[in-house]
Symmetry: C2
Subunit: 289 residues, 2 copies
């Protein structure tokens, strides 16, 4: 049971954690902080949080756990603000989708409190965002990855793990570096690829209005393109090495498919397409969505 | 009202046309032909067709309209078989997703009957296939593209247009060459891009089991990868020029995004991502899915 949870950034991610823990009876009180007054009011009215704080200092002062769910570009400054007001013993964790960058910023900002910082990433979300989009079952059967480092306090790690398990998530630990490759491969790269295709077709000189012929397959393929451009700029810049490494490989593999189409090497195409289909079907017939 | 419709290939596409026209009261009798006896039986039992023919010759002999819904690789040989038995005046149309290839094959196979061949492409489908997957509303609010040529008989064109309109589809005409570019851009290229990514991650040396961390965004992005590998090999080889042309452009544009990530040119990324998001949102808030 968590006494007081402070949520910094009461959007889809932060708000849904609050709702899930309240529903599970795992938290006594949730205090939230957001940059805009309007969201404070909305979050309290919707019952997403119990009360709102006028400042980060007020939000974190008596917190047992602080969950930071802000855009990655704000992480460094938020961590600095938290460091100024956090009391000894408070556990700090976050939900950013890039981890090496966050671990580095936390080490820099938190000083002695760094051992109680548990870098985390709930792999869940929708293309909607904001307090209104938050719901209690967002994390059910989804994965949460924690990326502790050698200084990490094991009791703090275990408390954050239990917190996420209470939301119905499946929690696993991973090195921050590997996390960033995994996410570049399964999330950041698909976003870049889909953004690139839709951006290209939107600008296409000789194919005015071509997107009007796009059907269901394209709609699903490009759903991730409806995400916020600023957020994705920041993710790309924060996880640059992993994304660039995978893009190199992607170009190479795509060249092989091009070559096979050019040379009419049908066997090569069947091999790649068939392997891909099998891997995809194995993954998504399971229960972890 | 169509007296007798012959459907060659009673799968999702052919079966759904039959069901839609029956439901609309637009056809007296549907006779179907499929390569395997089992599908004949199933199609009749499910009420997808009224009767089954033992051969293409039997199916097309007394047909007013013939709809060919077979894999693109079978089109040439099916057209030759049809040409041997079709009676004078019968309208022939198809549902292949590549049109230049089919028009060339039809011109070659059909001789004098070529003027009554209406190349068509209903842009609809699911990742499921087969007679069992067929349903009457598949084409509702979906686009059907017809690609007549200068020899095309205008009465035949108008009859096929009315047939598709009766299914609830929105029918438009287009040059075959432009159709193939439109489909390469909105369907074939997304398939190749998604096949390539999933194929690459399935083989990745240092990232065993990486796909287990793929979440909802990846699931939607890669849904098209669950399609049949043989069908997609054949589409790639039949629409090779359009696909290769777009792939060249895709590589170039992707290089620009890579460069922007490398140089931390956030403005460039915002510009591409934002344009893509806007174009995508405009397209899929409309009614034609």
């Amino acid at each position: 049971m968590i006494g007081r949870l402070a949520i910094i950034g009461v959007g889809l991610i932060g708000g849904s954690l609050s709702l899930a823990l309240k529903k599970a009876g795992m938290v006594k009180e949730v205090i939230g902080y957001s940059r805009t007054e309007q969201i404070h009011q909305q979050a309290v009215n919707l019952g997403v949080i119990d009360k709102s704080a006028a400042s980060i200092a007020e939000a974190v002062r008596d917190a047992d756990i602080i969950f930071i769910a802000v855009p990655i570009a704000s992480m460094s400054s938020i961590l600095v603000e938290i460091a100024e007001s956090v009391r000894d013993g408070t556990i700090i964790t976050d939900g950013c989708s890039v981890k090496v960058h966050v671990v580095t910023a936390a080490k820099h900002a938190l000083g002695n409190n760094f051992s109680r910082f548990i870098p985390g990433h709930p792999i869940a979300g929708t293309e909607h965002s904001g307090t209104k989009a938050a719901y209690a079952s967002l994390y059910q059967n989804h994965r949460v990855i924690l990326t502790p480092v050698k200084q990490t306090n094991s009791r703090a790690l275990s408390i954050v793990r239990s917190m996420w398990q209470a939301t119905g998530a499946e929690v696993s630990d991973m090195e921050a570096e590997y996390h960033d490759i995994v996410l570049a491969a399964t999330s950041h790269l698909p976003h870049v690829l889909a953004f690139n295709l839709v951006g290209m077709l939107a600008e296409c000189d000789n194919c005015d209005d071509i997107l009007q012929y796009a059907a269901g397959g394209f709609r699903d393929f490009s759903r991730i393109v409806s995400s916020d451009a600023v957020m994705w700029r920041d993710i790309c810049l924060s996880n640059k090495d992993a994304i660039l490494g995978l893009l190199r490989q992607y170009h190479q593999d795509l060249r092989k498919i091009e070559e096979a189409i050019k040379e009419e090497d049908g066997d090569f195409l069947i091999d790649v397409f068939g392997r891909a289909k099998q891997a995809r079907d194995v993954r998504f017939n399971g229960n972890i969505n």
